[in-house]
């Protein structure tokens, strides 16, 4: 692979979280091996059966009965996740043509390609819930479904590519590692695969920042500027504070979510502080300090009003990101139509051959 042609550094992030992904994978295998009773006792007992499977940490599979609201929540969440992978290709894709060395260009190209793969994989997981990829893409394009707020921020320098890897992919992993134990089987399995690659991307981003912060003064300034701009938007990726999160309680009861927004955000902050020290970069929060009583860092909350503005469409790049996606879709229509027409002709020929 082109992506991993640099050496392992022990101080790089991701080790502990990757261990959790592997533990989740083991748990998934064990759950599959445990003898689960074959089917609900009777047609009336579908809900009871569902609750029992969730309570026993077994997986709900596409063929199983599930509450309609569970299905809807999962479609919304998995689709939003898939859309984020696809829209998330844009801010980094912005720097492929200008990557400063051929090795970095190859790594970035491979990473953006991985993201397209994650998008496809997640759309396939959503499709197991009885909705088509075309419908989901339509909902993205007409604005009925969202993608992660973070991708509405611009990549202004090369260091932003590093900051996205370290902070944005880092936040994504902290968010997604618990989803490896999500109660819906196809989503949990998708997350295991996605988290492994994301963890690799995070290390690559960290490596970019490490090289910059140990490079020329201009490179170090570029790295610090990127961290200054991406820190709070990354904290906001975990969503509104617990008191204001609309989907949390039910999702936790269904074991879709395992931790609250604030718990995950805290975990992310605690993880980043040490890594920032090794990078020699400053986290742009004057009130960040260790709290001995809580055994965690106190930190300044992101601006949630800004988060709401970005989610509702008024971030720096919302319009561009959507316009870009719509343009690619519209300009590609004649190609997709050609592929369909060609396939139809071949199918018709096949039929004739069989009939003759």
């Amino acid at each position: 692979m082109y992506g991993n042609d640099f050496g392992t550094t022990d101080d790089a992030p991701g080790g502990g979280l990757l261990g959790e992904v592997e533990a989740a994978e083991t748990a998934l295998r064990e759950a599959a091996a445990r003898q689960r009773r074959g089917a609900p006792a009777s047609a009336d007992d579908l809900a009871g059966y569902f609750d029992e499977v969730v309570a026993a940490d077994q997986k709900i599979e596409p063929r199983d009965w599930m509450p309609e609201a569970y299905r809807r929540t999962l479609i919304r969440q998995i689709a939003q996740h898939a859309h984020s992978e696809i829209i998330g290709m844009q801010p980094e894709g912005n720097w492929i043509s200008r990557a400063p060395s051929l090795k970095r260009k190859a790594i970035l190209l491979a990473k953006v390609q991985d993201e397209a793969g994650h998008g496809l994989y997640l759309y396939a997981a959503a499709e197991t819930l009885g909705i088509s990829r075309d419908e989901l893409v339509e909902m993205l394009l007409n604005g009925r479904q969202k993608y992660s707020s973070i991708f509405n921020y611009p990549t202004l320098t090369w260091a932003d590519v590093g900051a996205i890897g370290w902070l944005v992919d880092g936040a994504a992993i902290v968010n997604q590692v618990p989803l490896c134990r999500c109660s819906y089987g196809p989503y949990a399995r998708a997350m295991i695969r996605v988290c492994k690659e994301e963890s690799f991307h995070q290390r690559q981003g960290y490596e970019i920042l490490h090289t910059l912060s140990h490079g020329t003064p201009a490179q170090k300034a570029m790295a610090q500027d990127a961290v200054d701009r991406w820190w709070y938007p990354s904290l906001a990726m975990f969503g509104p504070p617990d008191g204001e999160s609309t989907h949390s309680t039910q999702s936790m009861a269904w074991k879709i979510k395992r931790f609250s927004n604030d718990e995950l955000r805290q975990r992310f902050v605690d993880m980043c502080v040490q890594q920032a020290e090794i990078l020699g970069l400053t986290i742009p929060d004057p009130d960040l300090r260790w709290n001995d009583e809580r055994q965690a860092y106190d930190y300044t909350q992101p601006d949630y009003d800004e988060l709401m503005r970005v989610i509702s469409g008024d971030g720096p790049c919302n319009r561009e990101r959507m316009a870009h996606r719509r343009r690619a879709h519209e300009e590609g229509a004649w190609v997709r139509e050609a592929a369909a027409a060609y396939a139809a002709k071949r199918a018709a020929e096949q039929k004739e051959t069989v009939a003759a």
Binding site: Y2, I86, M89, Q90, G93, I96, S97, R98, A99, P100, S101, L102, K103, R104, K105, A106, L109, A110, V112, Q113, A116, G117, G119, L120, W158, I208, T211, G215, T216, A218, Q219, H324, R327, A328, E331, G332, A333, W334, V335, R336, E337, A338, A339, A340, A341, Y342, K345
Partner: protein, 241 residues
Amino acid sequence: MNGPFDFTLALGDDALIAAQRLAEWTTRAPEMEEDIALANIALDQLGAARLLLTYAGELEGAGRDEDALAYQRGDREFRNCLLVELPNGDFAVTMAKLLFLAAYQVPLYTALAGCADERLAAIGAKARKESAYHLDHASLWVRRLGDGTEESHRRMQAAVDQVWPYTAELFTPDPTAPVDPAGLRAEFDATVAAILTAATLTRPETGWTPGGGRDGVHTEHLSYLLAEMQVLHRAHPGARW
């Protein structure tokens, strides 16, 4: 061209500029699967470019590595063929360019794999497998577009007509090179003819045959491509990335 350095540099430049153009499609492809495929082909070309430019730098013996060659030469010093620097155009133009490039690179790398220079032989052996995939991918799309809808047929034929003249340059004779490009022409013609026929397309008559890329005399497009590709590297002389 003169000797193994120029030859290796020219092939490395072909692959590098092709990669740069193909990577421009990322996030813009007609379908998500194609986004992945084009990025994949761009990565293959970039991988070949890195091997070839690294080796060219060693043959030159002036201490230039792959990045010095990619980022610190101006357009008059690049030796790529004109075909790869042409703008992407619509999807049909991109597929016409990829078809012709791959139909040239498959016999080229195959011949290279058997040449006396061990390094070039190893690069050729690796790259020909990738080029075979590129040729397969491009020919599939050329057939789909050529034999798809009226609109796609019209666009695919227009793309072939537009790009075809630039293929002549690929086969300029060079008896001193490790592989003489003139010897690749017959296989290229046979491959392309079969694919165009299957795609219900017509091969244009060869008339105008632009060239000059191998001598560093390019189209107006290359300087812009390099300005974008090199801007960051040139802004920080001597920096590590």
